[in-house]
Every structure is written in C-alpha cells, then in structure tokens.
C-alpha cells in the first residue's frame, strides 16, 4: 500500500497473467487449448499444423483471425491486446492454394 491507501500502481493490463483459450478451426480436428500470453503465436500455429499433418509444410498454411493472417512471431498477449480478444478467441488454420 502507498500513503494514499491504495495498491501500488503497476503497468499490468487486466488479463496479463491469465491464460487465453484459443480454438483453431482446421480442415481436420480443431485445436482447443489454453496458452500463456507470453508465448509466441507460432506455438499455437505449430500445434494446429500437427492436427492437419502439416508438419514441415508451414509455408502452405496461415493462421487467420477474421480472415486476416496473423504475424505468428508476435506474442499471443500482444495480439490479444491489439485485436481486442478477451479470455477466448477463435482462429482458423487456412491452407494456401498450391498452384503449380
């Protein structure tokens, strides 16, 4: 407590310490798991890739939110803050057309 009787201020955002529930819809089974907000989004991407047998084919898929691809190098928490996700979000693993 400080001398005003209130808790000391921190810069933490309300959801910073909570995991976030992430559902990833895929063309195979869906992913439904909770993730620490400090993890990079590529952890989610790779877990979803396994469900479609796409290990080693990362360039053939994108992880999308609202039909827009996500930068999977960014932290889950940063994306959640920027895009207004609450404690749960639904993403989609999208196969990219392979035109030979």
């Amino acid at each position: 407590m400080n001398d005003q009787g209130t808790a000391p201020s921190t810069d933490r955002k309300p959801h910073e310490d909570k995991d976030i529930q992430i559902i990833v819809v895929t063309t195979a089974d869906d992913l439904d798991d909770s993730f620490n907000r400090n993890l990079p989004m590529h952890v989610v991407f790779e877990k979803a890739l396994k469900l479609v047998g796409g290990q080693g084919q990362a360039d053939q898929f994108a992880l999308e939110y609202g039909n827009e691809p996500l930068d999977i190098a960014r932290k889950i928490g940063d994306l959640a803050d920027e895009l207004g996700w609450d404690d749960r979000v639904e993403l989609e693993l999208v196969p990219k057309p392979v035109v030979v």
Binding site: T27, V52, P95
Partner: protein, 143 residues
C-alpha cells in the same frame, strides 16, 4: 470401405463451420451405379455478384485419379466451360489436353491436377481431403 462408401463419407462430413461460413450448400446425388456427384455452391470476392456450382464426380478410381471437376448450370444438369468462373490460375476452363477441350482445376485432390496436368504427382488421400481442397478453392474464389 469401398470407393462409394469412402466418397459418401467425405461428402457428408464437411464441417458445419465451413458450410455456414462460405454458404457451400452441398448436395449429393447418389443414384447411379458408377458415379456419385457432389454439387457445391461457390461465390467469392474475386467474382462479385456471381455464383457458381461446382460438381465433383466420384468414380471408382477417385482415390488415385482424383475427383473429376466441372462447373454446371444452375439446374445442375449440364456441365461446360461456359459455366466456369473466368480463367485464371488455378482455374483453366479452356485447357486443351491432347487436342481436346478439358476444363481443369490445378489444385491437389482433383482429377485435373493428378490425371491431366501433373500425372507425376499421385494423389495422397491424407494430403488432399475434400475439405482442404474446398477451402483452397474458396481462397481462390476470394482472391
């Protein structure tokens, strides 16, 4: 599981998420001995105010040769290049194969890909599910 049962299984198990999102409205016709037809309604941002009906025809060799692709008229009776979206990869409504007009889609899982354009690339059923093909084609339709 024989070819017809396998075809019926994949055609009737498309995820509701995608059916709702894209409005595919699939329709299965299973009344002939040697073929099974799946009709899928397609529209997308690449072709505003237009909609198309894709017919995927399953025959006994579909798991090796691919699902045979056509676009058909609104009554789902007649197939032909005039019912296709405009040409542009991977849609080839005017493709000539050995001197014969052979409309093809160059995407994995489809007859045109595995049995016409890329005969050196066999179909692998685990990598070419119906749903994956349809989502890829939808991405094409959305430009």
């Amino acid at each position: 599981m024989n070819w017809r049962e396998a075809a019926r299984a994949e055609a009737t198990s498309l995820k509701p998420y995608y059916l709702k999102k894209y409005g595919w409205n699939p329709h299965l016709v299973d009344d002939a001995d040697d073929v099974l037809d799946l009709f899928v309604h397609l529209s997308g941002r690449r072709f505003p105010d237009k909609s198309y009906i894709l017919r995927l025809r399953y025959q006994s060799d579909w798991q090796e040769a691919g699902r045979r692709e056509s676009f058909v008229d609104p009554e789902m009776v007649e197939a032909g290049p005039e019912f296709w979206p405009p040409e542009g990869a991977p849609l080839n409504p005017n493709y000539m194969h050995n001197g014969v007009l052979t409309p093809v889609i160059c995407l994995r899982g489809i007859f045109g890909f595995h049995s016409v354009l890329h005969t050196d690339r066999p179909m692998e059923i685990d990598d070419t599910s119906l749903l994956r093909f349809l989502v890829e084609l939808q991405k094409v339709m959305d430009g």
